[in-house]
Symmetry: C2
Subunit: 136 residues, 2 copies
Amino acid sequence: MAVDAGAFLERWHEIVAKRDLEGLRGMLAERVTLGAPPYWNKFDDRELVLHLLGLIVHTIEDFSYHREWVRGHELALEFRGSVDGMELQGIDLITLDEDGRVRDLEVPMRPLNAVTALRDRIAPQMLAYLRGRAGS
Amino acid sequence: MAVDAGAFLERWHEIVAKRDLEGLRGMLAERVTLGAPPYWNKFDDRELVLHLLGLIVHTIEDFSYHREWVRGHELALEFRGSVDGMELQGIDLITLDEDGRVRDLEVPMRPLNAVTALRDRIAPQMLAYLRGRAGS
């Protein structure tokens, strides 16, 4: 079945611009996987992925999308922004499932100093989130 | 003028597979710029860029290309490999000039440990190269 990548992108950009995490949840497949910039192993729990994506879009300043490529259900979306005054560039490599939801998202990024800063800003918040979840 | 990205890709893959640096030189515009994974500032000297790309393809083991996107003269080529046993994933974001040569190449990559290892393996060799050039 053909996936409507155009409709996906329109909605994706709207949701990212609004930092609309509730809307984002509906765009992620139940078994979504995320390959975050600092780590190799994938995150594979939708609530965890959603929380992490929320932290990322809130931590990167001046986040904006640039070049965009679509090939069937595989998308590549270039973005730019900064963390602690350090500029960064990355790309969302997105695989859509047959329902047009994100099945896999991998995020290569550069340069090292900004990715390290991003990890150092987000890791303590993720830990606090995981502790809260474990305790609830 | 339309750029023949298909012909570019065929030649690019052939050259990367052979580690053919002389062939690669002819595919780079004279004023090529390179945004390497660890650094933000661009390298903008063709011989330096060529040398650095050579070090990168020789240092990454089991280098292979995967997904590929083309949009006019803008290309995105996903690759995978490993450094010191650490798996990595990156993407060549390539802008071609009107002659079908690489005008700009930016390389976001993940994860942090592999990018750090890549930098640590390559930086001393780049320094030796630059010292040799300065002394010649």
